[in-house]
Symmetry: C2
Subunit: 343 residues, 2 copies
């Protein structure tokens, strides 16, 4: 059996970022870039995006070196690549945008190459929800679909955004955005509102406070994007608590700590890296069980924790599988509180 692919659609950009630790000028960035590179540590990735003729060849070479299929990355002759400039201060949970030059991205219409359409794992990174819908219309064989978004679309296209949420299996959203979208301060109730739209999983990214996954009981109806997966939550009930089934914990099925970092160099792309690591790990295992989704959250957190330790994708460029495995084990040691065989 051939390996499952992760299809990722979103922005590929050049970022100018300033943080208390320093700055990066027109460095490689973009939601699809971060998530594709993160996913590539686990599974083969197909990227869909657009860049201008100014996009440095070294970046393209880097993506290819990670085994990322770039057939779907359009290069617009004479065009300029999407450029974002921003700063971070204080607890660095929120970026201050200085400039957004959409350039070639403003006319972006995601067209999937034929070879991409049967991808089994689909991640719609943060882009216009109308474009996310167009991508969903093109995939034919998805086992798991996921999306991310940002405050700009919540404010500007909330109805289209809700339509996307109703058509995917997993919604990634940060805590501030979740409150903005729902008008609800309590995160458990806010997540329940999003789950009511249809997604089986709502994964709330909380930066330094970790991530929380909410599930729709009793058995999440996965696989909206395509054919049914085989009995995703029926593996002898191992690890699946009955109180999840009853929605007994406010629909919350997993809380992950964040990795403690004494210094966050650049938080740009942390959420994208998280989602990419999550999707890559799921694709590599093909297993849509609660337990595997928990592990995927921790792998996503692991990748994100590395990413913020340097500007742009610099840390991911030198990241090794051994480092990922080591930090994953550290996550266990941080959160476990009983002597168990796993320790």
């Amino acid at each position: 059996m051939s390996q499952s692919h992760v299809l990722i659609v979103g922005s590929v950009a050049l970022d100018s970022v300033q943080t208390p630790s320093g700055k990066a000028e027109r460095a490689l960035g973009g939601a699809a870039t971060y998530s594709s590179v993160a996913a590539s540590f686990f599974a083969p990735v197909r990227i869909v995006g657009v860049v201008g003729e100014d996009f440095p060849a070294e970046h393209l070479a880097f993506l290819k070196s990670r085994g990322i299929d770039t057939e779907g990355l359009q290069i617009v002759r004479g065009g300029k690549t999407f450029h974002w400039a921003g700063t971070y201060e204080g607890d660095m949970n929120q970026a201050n945008t200085l400039a957004t030059e959409l350039n070639v991205f403003s006319d972006f219409r995601p067209e999937l190459p034929e070879s991409y359409k049967s991808s089994e794992f689909v991640f719609l990174a943060n882009i216009d929800p109308e474009l996310q819908l167009k991508v969903l219309d093109q995939v034919t064989n998805a086992k798991l679909t996921a999306m991310d978004t940002m405050n700009f679309w919540i404010a500007g296209k909330p109805d289209k955004l809700r339509e996307v949420m109703s058509r995917v299996d997993v919604v990634f959203i940060n805590d501030a955005e979740l409150r903005q979208l729902t008008g609800e301060a309590n995160l458990v109730r806010a997540a329940a509102q999003v789950r009511a739209l249809g997604p089986s999983y709502v994964i709330v990214k909380k930066g330094e406070h970790g991530a929380v996954m909410y599930c729709t009981p009793p058995v999440p109806p996965l696989c909206k994007g395509g054919k049914e997966a085989s009995a995703p939550f029926d593996e002898g009930g191992k690890g699946v608590s009955t109180s999840f089934g009853e929605g007994g914990i406010g629909g919350l099925c997993f809380a992950a700590a964040s990795y403690p970092l004494e210094e966050v160099i650049d938080p740009t792309g942390a959420g994208d890296t998280f989602a990419g690591g999550f999707m890559g790990y799921i694709a590599s295992t093909g297993e849509l069980t609660h337990d595997n989704l928990r592990r995927a959250v921790v792998y996503g957190s692991t990748l994100a924790s590395f990413n913020v330790q340097d500007f742009s994708l610099n840390r991911l460029k030198r990241l090794t599988k051994a480092e990922i495995a080591e930090r994953y084990e550290e996550f266990k040691r941080i959160v476990f509180f009983e002597e168990t065989d796993a320790r």
Copy 2:
């Protein structure tokens, strides 16, 4: 061997609280009250505080019904009990104080009854750090000492507060207060600053985001308050990772999730309840290992999660040990991410 006692010193109050869920008028409150009642689910408690003649007899009877020794609770004839009034809004992480009437509390000088002085577990709830120091001067046999504080003392008596921190084993503090005290936005670095003052453990309470425990590697020098405990961290190394010893995770040794609640009725006393549950559990086991301190954090979180589900101590009044045990198990299910025997 007789059971270890928890000595708790702090405010006993009448609180008037308004939240989006309703209000309570002159209901039982106070840091020492919440923490004593929480601790009483695990171990015998001795309380030190002061109330006025207006303090309702039913409250005194309730404390006694929980097995709390009230010999150290002074009743000032003709005096009025400390009264606090406040409101909570939005995410309810921060109280807005409307009134603080210290009354008899303004002349409070904690005098330990003779029978209290040999208490092995000592919790200095939020009071004037100078009074906390006076209590430490009176205890003779402490195995574990802990303190809590608030923004008022951080602003008003930071030097005395640091002196208390240097003399206890465990510092409880919330994330906003930790940032205020240290002027450091990064919580890992901020906690390191507090650990540098001397306490073996800094436990950061983060409300809806759970709690994080930082440890001073390699072997925390516990038992400042009295005699040495026997080899507290030398139990075959079970569960104690070498990377803790190297301080490899920024000194963080445990991250606990918060229990997901769809409705927080009244957050008053959550931090006190957390600390009381922690101290009570430690006292009940007498075990000063990393693993036991982790469990204590989860028991503290468990008690706190119940407390916020009703006004005043109303939820704790009807809480059962079976409910505590059940929710503790739910905490496991929320955070574990590998199939283990413990599941």
